[in-house]
């Protein structure tokens, strides 16, 4: 495979026969896949294909019915979300998932604080750790939210909430960045800010990026590899142009009525 030729190292993250059933419905069905550092993999598929569920299984929000998730070859299936975050799997959510009544800055500062391992400190004042606040402000600056830092997260516009979501992911400083439709619902002029950020992370060279995205132009411009999920199955995996033109993808997308995106 072309992406293996590009980086021959051990996969950072891999899934092996990953499956989850909700009652009779199999949302993710026996998906095995490997992700390597320095690459951006786009995960595409029609609505309901299991993309977000697959993300939830990898980042620990859901336990799988069967199969394993490995991080640097080590089985991490039994670990919960907090432990996976601590080991470098960072996740941004599709449906914005913030602390609504805390300020924008506090949303990010809490992330920086977690990263600094200071959550259990009961004796000092949070406000005296200026380095955490400054670091949080730095990440807000990257997503152009500095001016709104003292507002409650609930007061932000949809696009700004998405940006805050990304600032939180950046503040986790993970090895693996998982973006779940980062540009969904954003206005046209906001999208480039996010795409530039993703490009910037990619340019660092050692980060593994996973991106669930519907907009095919975004996928084409960023992805080194495309994985296609359909009805919970992995149906295609490989070089972007190759995958986009494969009959199975054409059919999957035509079937879901989103052919105009392809």
């Amino acid at each position: 495979m072309s992406n293996e030729a590009r980086s021959g190292e051990v996969p950072v993250l891999s899934t092996h026969g990953l499956t989850i059933r909700f009652g009779g419905h199999v949302a993710v069905n026996n998906v095995s896949c490997e992700f390597r550092p320095g690459t951006l993999t786009a995960i595409v598929g029609p609505n309901g294909a299991g993309k977000t569920t697959y993300f939830n299984l990898m980042s620990g929000q859901l336990p799988p019915s069967s199969g394993t998730v490995r991080l640097y070859g080590e089985d991490i299936t039994h670990l919960g979300a907090p432990q996976r975050t601590k080991r470098g799997i960072g996740r941004a959510f599709q449906l914005t998932n913030l602390f609504p009544n805390l300020t924008v800055l506090e949303n990010v500062r809490l992330t920086v604080q977690s990263r600094a391992g200071m959550g259990l400190n009961m004796v000092s004042m949070w406000a005296s750790h200026i380095e955490l606040i400054e670091k949080a402000e730095h990440f807000l600056h990257l997503v152009a939210l500095t001016e709104r830092r003292h507002e409650n997260a609930a007061a932000l516009s949809h696009g700004d909430k998405r940006k805050l979501e990304i600032a939180i992911l950046l503040a986790l400083e993970p090895d693996i960045f998982m973006f779940d439709e980062p540009t969904a619902g954003m206005s046209v002029d906001e999208v480039p800010v996010v795409l530039d950020l993703i490009q910037h992370i990619k340019a660092m060279g050692d980060k593994t990026i996973l991106l669930v995205e519907h907009k095919m132009d975004v996928v084409r411009s960023l992805a080194d590899r495309i994985v296609v999920l359909h009805n919970g199955y992995l149906v295609a995996d490989g070089d972007p142009t190759e995958v986009m033109n494969s009959p199975i993808v054409q059919e999957a997308y035509l079937g879901a009525g989103v052919a105009d995106h392809v």
Binding site: P82, F99, P100, S114, M122, M125, W126, H129, H150
Partner: protein, 360 residues
């Protein structure tokens, strides 16, 4: 200096600062300002309730956990000291043994209840605490050989704290420096210390995580915080501080009994005070306790006077009859929840917050 003492959590409202100052000075000077055993008893009860309510708010207001076992921990503290003083005689060692023993029992119970139920849904935790607390209250009144049953235990405290003890021959501002006064200041300074300690906890990095968990526990997990650990820690802290409040109350009353220490009424009082004062504000516990306990003790007197003054008017005199004080307390509660859904502190702060640049 003041900023550090208050852990950077300043009242941020002139009205609030003024109210807090009045309550603080009132409690600090209570033995010299008010006369009579009853008034001092009210002041002491306020001191204990500030600690008890603030420790409950640590759970309810800051972490978003509903517990019905708070009076149980309060009772454990009271019975711990009561049993130790009864069994070992009136000594400071007995108080120390009772306190440490009670803290250990509370810690183990809080840990067990927490680890069993805090990982599941919040409603199960509420149910389990309700069951355990009821069982504990029944146990305390049934084991009559040990706990004195329904009658409770009356015991002696060390000499320094006995009302008959006089530290000085002279009086200060017409007030004898006796054991009752010393006990009052023991309560006052313990309550002050615990209050500032809790203010520090909620403004520490740990306290901020608790608020994050209250806001969105799913996201807190995704940030790398193991919420079950934080919830359990908050639960233990809250239980331990409630235990200390129980110790203080037992020392003040020189009596423990199921009605005064374990009854479900205390639990509802705590809930009411938290809501009236303002959930998620430690200051709310101070203002709420002062207001509630004053109303509980003096509303009846006040109504008696109103009723007497209105004795000519048939309907109104009846309406304000002292026997109806509970009705009016209820009306006051409903009105305060309706007009100040964020509590007194929330209301007082809301006005100023719009003007000042908010800190995160």
């Amino acid at each position: 200096m003041l900023r550090t003492l208050l852990s950077g959590d300043l009242p941020r409202s002139r009205m609030l600062s003024a109210t807090l100052l009045v309550v603080f000075i009132g409690l600090a000077l209570a033995p010299f300002v008010v006369s009579g055993a009853r008034s001092l008893n009210v002041a002491a009860t306020i001191c204990v309730f500030v600690v008890l309510v603030a420790s409950y708010d640590l759970l309810l207001g800051y972490t978003g956990v509903v517990s019905f076992a708070h009076t149980m921990f309060y009772g454990i503290g009271a019975y711990g000291v009561g049993l130790a003083l009864t069994g070992m005689g009136p000594s400071w060692t007995a108080i120390a043994v009772g306190t440490v023993g009670a803290l250990l029992v509370s810690l183990v119970l809080a840990l067990v209840i927490g680890l069993f139920s805090l990982r599941v849904r919040a409603i199960f935790y509420a149910m389990i605490t309700l069951a355990v607390a009821s069982a504990f209250a029944v146990l305390a009144s049934q084991l009559s050989d040990f706990t004195g049953g329904e009658d409770g235990l009356t015991f002696k405290v060390p000499e320094l704290l006995q009302p008959s003890f006089h530290l000085l021959e002279a009086t200060i501002m017409g007030r004898a420096i006796d054991g009752k006064l010393i006990t009052y200041y023991l309560l006052f300074f313990s309550a002050l210390g615990l209050f500032l300690f809790m203010l520090r906890i909620v403004n520490s990095p740990f306290g901020r995580v608790l608020q994050a968990i209250r806001e969105n526990d799913f996201r807190a997990e995704a940030l790398g915080y193991r919420t079950v650990i934080y919830r359990t820690l908050a639960n233990c802290l809250s239980a331990l501080i409630a235990t200390l409040a129980g110790v203080l109350m037992a020392l003040w009353l020189r009596y423990v009994g199921p009605k005064t220490m374990l009854s479900f009424e205390i639990m509802t009082d705590i809930l009411l005070i938290v809501v009236i004062g303002g959930m998620g504000t430690i200051y709310g516990a101070l203002i709420g306790s002062a207001l509630f306990i004053l109303a509980q003790n003096y509303l009846q007197v006040l109504m008696g006077q109103t009723s007497a003054a209105l004795s000519g008017v048939p309907f109104l005199a009846n309406l304000f009859h002292p026997d109806r004080w509970l009705l009016w307390l209820g009306v006051l509660f409903v009105l305060s929840v309706y007009f100040f859904p964020t509590g007194i502190v929330g209301k007082l702060r809301a006005g100023t917050l719009a003007k000042v640049d908010r800190r995160p």
